[in-house]
């Protein structure tokens, strides 16, 4: 069952078409990873879904209700983890949660219990009485997430929740996301860290220039470009003549040089690993060879022509 359904979404900012007839369904209980390069429209899509901005045309339903006419009701059941830290620096961690919990209708004993539980969940119980200005980046990110969880949302939208933090804090956050999902929360997770999507997402949507260009499980997406394989050859003497010979091999799509390492993108099943090795040996010798199966990074590059980390995030 779809917890959120977006159909034919169009959004313009002036003459700039940011969302171009986007369709997206989010199934109940899944972690949906949303990937896209800078300017793809991911944050605009999230803002439209969370009811923060209006759309020009299209239909959004959440929890089987029309978003437009049930916005407050829907907002009570969703949580938004913003990309920027959006907590009150002059309220303690506990007070931040009490404020937001109160907005969501929690009161008295229920609020206190929920605040305690949320602080435990994100590992900030010890720091509950401290102001966030004394926190590390990772702790602030955890509090940022906690403020979106205090009311136990059915649907959690996370906009790059791990930007600018250390790997240990990131792993803690990813584990938090998995725990939440195991407890039944549906999660929409945007990131430009491929490894995060691979670690937690049950399904991935790839966006570029306002369109959804591919969606599916990681295996399904890799299948889409299974017709390619990557061969890395480290050679003794990389020359332009060698590169040219490799390009002329039947089935080879692309040859590029990175230092002394030659990267060959070839059609799968063409038997080009042996051919490429022969050519390289004749030209001076091979130090190492590595054949790789396509990864999500490759899917992204193939479908968009861009590396995910080009130019950072919107």
């Amino acid at each position: 069952m779809a917890i959120a359904h977006m159909k034919n979404i169009v959004k313009r900012y002036g003459a700039n078409l940011v969302l171009d007839h986007v369709d997206l369904d989010i199934a109940e209980g899944e972690i949906l990873g949303l990937l896209g390069p800078n300017g793809a429209g991911k944050t605009t899509l999230i803002h439209a879904l969370a009811g923060l901005i209006s759309i020009d045309t299209g239909d959004i339903q959440i929890f089987n209700k029309q978003q437009k006419s049930n916005l407050m009701d829907i907002k009570r059941q969703i949580g938004l983890v913003t990309q920027d830290i959006t907590i009150f620096g002059d309220l303690t961690a506990r007070e931040n949660l009490e404020f937001f919990g109160g907005i969501y209708g929690l009161r008295g004993k229920e609020l206190k219990e929920r605040v305690d539980e949320t602080l435990r969940f994100v590992g900030l119980t010890e720091y509950s009485g401290k102001l966030p200005t004394k926190f590390s980046g990772g702790m602030m990110r955890r509090l940022n997430i906690a403020c979106a969880l205090v009311h136990r949302p059915k649907f959690l939208i996370m906009d790059e929740p791990t930007v600018g933090i250390d790997p240990q804090s990131r792993n803690h956050i990813l584990e938090t996301v998995r725990k939440l999902n195991r407890q039944g929360t549906t999660i929409l997770y945007t990131t430009h860290y491929m490894e995060e999507v691979q670690a937690i997402a049950s399904r991935v949507v790839i966006m570029d220039q306002g369109h959804v260009i591919a969606q599916g499980t990681i295996e399904e997406l890799v299948e889409k470009i299974q017709h390619e394989e990557k061969i890395k050859l480290e050679v003794m003497e990389p020359t332009e003549a060698l590169l040219e010979k490799l390009r002329r091999i039947d089935g080879v799509k692309d040859v590029s040089l990175r230092g002394k390492e030659i990267l060959i993108i070839s059609r799968v099943g063409a038997g080009n690993l042996d051919r490429a090795l022969s050519v390289a040996k004749e030209a001076g010798g091979v130090r190492s060879v590595n054949a790789e199966k396509p990864t999500l990074e490759d899917v992204f590059l193939t479908l968009t022509g861009k590396s995910l980390r080009d130019g950072g995030e919107e």
Binding site: R76, T82, T86, D90, L91, F100, I103, Y104
Partner: protein, 244 residues
């Protein structure tokens, strides 16, 4: 929800030590120093101790800048990146803005009242009717906060809004003749007497203390309250446009 938001706003303001120093400690310090310099001197025009005039002017002049509280919190909560979090809540952002203005107005008026009571009890300053002083403080504080909010909602650049509001406060102080006397005839005289919030507040309190210019005092209070109401209407209109 307004009460709830106001409660948290109060906590935030009490932790804003800069604001507390600027709007309570600093005016008290200036009143003390200037009062020591004035000694037992009497204002010839008003017939009241110069110390009393200093305290009255300082308290009301400080209120002119109290609107900074509302301005800063509106910017921080509703016009910066925090707005995405606030707008995702099942909570009308206009209500949060109202809670900010309400709690900040009362807080700065209370800061003024602390100075009033301190100067009355410690320095023997005659404030006349404390009830009237509270009404004037609230009206002036409301006007200041709403004016600052109108500026920040109207202007695209928040820094410019801040600078304009500071200049308006300073111009009000100049027009009230605090630093140098204003002409006693012509349009400037009218503006100096009835056209700026500081003079209006002074008129009201001096009328009670001296017994002179009662009608001027009443008109001044009416203008203060009417200006606040008008500013409230403008702020509501701009708020609906910008925060909806």
């Amino acid at each position: 929800m307004i009460l709830r938001s106001s409660y948290f706003m109060l906590k935030r303001m009490l932790r804003g030590y800069v604001g507390l120093v600027m709007l309570t400690v600093l005016p008290l310090a200036l009143i003390t120093v200037l009062g020591l310099i004035a000694g037992n001197g009497v204002d010839e025009k008003l017939g009241i101790p110069i110390m009393d005039g200093i305290a009255i002017t300082m308290v009301f002049a400080t209120q002119l800048f109290g609107g900074n509280y509302s301005m800063e919190y509106i910017i921080s909560d509703l016009l910066s990146s925090n707005k995405w979090r606030m707008n995702s809540l099942p909570y009308n952002s206009s209500i949060h803005a109202f809670a900010i203005v309400l709690s900040c107005t009362i807080f700065t008026a209370l800061q003024g009242l602390v100075i009033v009571l301190f100067t009355q009890w410690v320095y023997g300053v005659n404030w006349g009717n404390i009830g009237l002083v509270i009404v004037v403080l609230l009206a002036l504080s409301t006007l200041s906060h709403l004016a600052f909010v109108v500026l920040v909602l109207w202007m695209k650049n928040h820094k410019t809004a801040g600078n304009v509001s500071t200049w308006l406060g300073l111009i009000s102080i100049v027009l009230a003749g605090v630093w140098f006397p204003m002409p006693e005839t012509g349009i400037l005289s009218v503006i100096s007497t009835y056209g700026n919030p500081l003079s209006l507040s002074q008129n009201a309190v001096y009328a009670i203390i001296t017994g002179d210019g009662i009608s001027r005092g009443i008109v001044s209070v009416v203008i203060l309250i009417a200006s606040s109401l008008l500013m409230g209407i403008v702020a509501t209109y701009l708020g609906r446009r910008k925060l909806a």
